[in-house]
Structures are given as structure tokens and as C-alpha cells.
Subunit: 210 residues, 2 copies
């Protein structure tokens, strides 16, 4: 599995010209790192007298965060799985009409899966930001910067996932699916950017005392 | 070393209440991941006939990227090193005037190092975005989404590092240093946000055909 590698190895393989891990998998991984930062704040809050009234909420949020991290980790592997057939399809010859037809069919088939995975990553980023929103309200103020870092990671993971959707829908012949996917993406985008930017800027103001 | 852990382990330890890895180290790691994506595009470009005129530039950029990744990796460890004394200082008792004085002195000393490291991360993020700017111009268009993902990762790494600076300068008594650091940070911010947003939006437009 991709995330069994060491962090250093992951960086090295990401920088290589090997097809995986690629940008999509890196985004799913970033979502997991961001959500882990939110969970850290939850774990630092548990058992603190000052935040006793939120204890049950924090426990619930930690369970959500754990589920989201698990899903992001799964998507790192899934992104690698769907990218292989796509890179194979790209490499098919197209010297004859027959070859061109086969290449186009393989490509279109592979593009669908390769589009759906980053879309799933994008959806999950929004769930992750929602969890951070609650950690910002109920988590220990001692670690408020970590909530802000977590939020900005999840926003970046979304923005990266978006480009990975677009590079695939760009070539997609199924206009109906293409439009559906791009429509959903823009709905998620509006919500996540608004929430993440507000959260980040609130935390920034709190820290800079402005 | 922090990055010898597996990716999964890193996520798990990040989410725990243990002091390290923390938000600062996660930002340095994200900078390395972002720069690795730029380097991937460079590596995919090398040897391509279509980009022959940029071969020498790409080779130079890859060497820069490798240096930046190395520095980010070093900063992951450095962030952990400077955070330990800070978390120790936070935990010192302050029941007597003498204890309070010792605590305040330890805290102020630890805050300086804990501020400088995320500032170094912030500076390095700008260098990384500059490298991406050139990869976007000279790298293979086949992987242009990965340049966009790399840029947005480096921007997020900067924004996270910024919060890690602010949470420390907030408590800093040395006003001169505090002002210097915050001034430099805002200069870097202006440049990196402008560059990263322009690059990301150009790539987004290119991919969505608008």
C-alpha cells in the first residue's frame, strides 16, 4: 500500500517520473495530514477541565476525523489504481483507424474512474473542513494554530483534487457526465473556499491580535 | 528522523497529543511534497523531443528542487527540535515569583527558535513557488495539473507556517524581533500569494478551457 512507504520514500517516488503516486494521491494524502491536525487538537482537548462541557462533542469529532483519515488513506491507493489504466491508455499506439478507435475507447473508459476518484477526494475535503470548523469552536485555544493549518491543508487538498478532475474531464467525451461532475465540483468549491477562508482568517486575526 | 517513519505512522503521530510532529513540521513536509510534484513534472519533461530547447533549464530546475526538498526535510526535524524546549517551558510551574521568572525566561528563549524555524519554512515556500513558476512555462503540458497541485501545496505550506510564526510572536516580549519577523512574513506573503494564485488560476483556466 502506498502509505506504508516511509515519508522520505513517498517524496522521492512522487518526484520521479513513475506514474504513481501522482498529484491525485498526493491530495488525498494531504487531506489525511490536514484532518490529523484537527484530530491532534481534539486529542489535546480531551480531559482538560476548561473544556469539559465539550468532552462529548470532541469525542464524536475524533471519531469522525478518524473515519475521514481512513477514507483519505483509502483514496490514496484508489487514485493509484485508476491511474494505471489511464497511463496505459495514453501510451497505446494510434497508427491505424482501428488502433485509434481502441485507444479512444480505452481512454474514455479510464477517464471516468480517474475523474471520480479526485471528485471523491474533493467531497471528503469538505467533510474534513466541517470537522475543523467544530474543532475551532470547541477545541483547546492552546493549539488553535493547528486547526488553522489543518483547514488550509484540506482547502489545498480540494484545490489540487479539482485540477485532477479537470485534466480528466477536459478529454471526456461523455458531456453529460462531464457537466455533472464539474457542476458538483463548483458547488463543493463555493462552500469549502468560503468556510476554509473564514476559519483561517478568524484564526489569523486571533493570533495576530488584530 | 521524523521522515523515516511510514506515511501512515506520520499521520497517526500527527493526530496524537504528543508534541511532535506538530503543525510546523507538517508544513515543512507539505513544502517537500509540493516541490516533489514540481520535480515530477521536470522529470517527465526530460528527454522529450518537444521540450528539447528547455532541457538545460529543466536540469537546473531539478537541481534547485532537490535542494529545496532537502531543506524542507531538514526543517521537519528542526521544527521538532525547537518545539520540545517550548513545550517544556509551557509546562513549568509558576507558583512563586521565582518560578514565574524562570518560566518566563525559558519561554522567551524557546519562543525565538520556535519562531525562526517556521519563518525559514515560509521563506523556502517562496523559493519553491518560483521553481514551479518556471516548471509551468518549460515543463510538459501533459502534467500541467501537477504543477498546479505543487504550487497550491507550497502556498498552503506558507499559510500554515505563518500561523506557526504568529502563535509564537504573540507571546514574544522582544518587540524588535517580533516586528522584524512579522514584517518579513508579510513581505513574503504578498509575493507568494500573488504568484501562487496567478499560477493556479492560469492552470485552472488552461484545463477548463475557459
Amino acid at each position: 500500500m502506498m502509505l506504508d512507504k516511509s515519508c522520505k520514500e513517498f517524496i522521492k517516488e512522487l518526484s520521479s517520473k513513475e506514474p504513481v503516486p501522482g498529484g491525485g494521491g498526493a491530495c488525498a494524502y494531504l487531506g489525511a495530514l490536514g484532518t490529523a491536525l484537527g484530530a491532534m487538537v481534539g486529542n489535546l482537548t480531551l480531559g482538560k477541565k476548561k473544556y469539559k462541557e465539550f468532552e462529548k462533542d470532541i469525542e464524536r469529532l475524533l471519531i469522525s476525523a478518524e473515519g475521514i483519515i481512513y477514507d483519505f488513506e483509502r483514496l490514496v491507493n484508489k487514485d493509484a489504481e485508476v491511474f494505471f489504466p489511464l497511463s496505459e491508455a495514453y501510451r497505446l499506439p494510434k497508427n491505424t483507424d482501428e488502433e485509434e478507435k481502441i485507444k479512444e475507447e480505452s481512454l474514455q473508459k479510464a477517464l471516468v474512474d480517474a475523474t471520480i476518484v479526485p471528485l471523491e477526494i474533493a467531497r471528503l475535503c469538505l467533510k474534513a473542513v466541517d470537522v475543523h470548523e467544530e474543532f475551532a469552536k470547541k477545541g483547546t485555544k492552546m493549539a488553535i494554530s493547528d486547526v488553522g493549518v489543518g483547514v488550509i491543508f484540506c482547502k489545498a487538498a480540494f484545490q489540487g483534487a479539482k485540477l485532477n478532475v479537470l485534466i480528466n474531464t477536459k478529454l471526456m467525451k461523455n458531456e453529460k457526465l462531464k457537466n455533472l461532475v464539474e457542476k458538483e465540483l463548483s458547488i463543493i468549491e463555493k462552500e469549502i473556499i468560503e468556510k476554509a477562508d473564514r476559519l483561517y482568517s478568524d484564526i489569523e486575526k486571533e493570533l495576530s491580535g488584530r
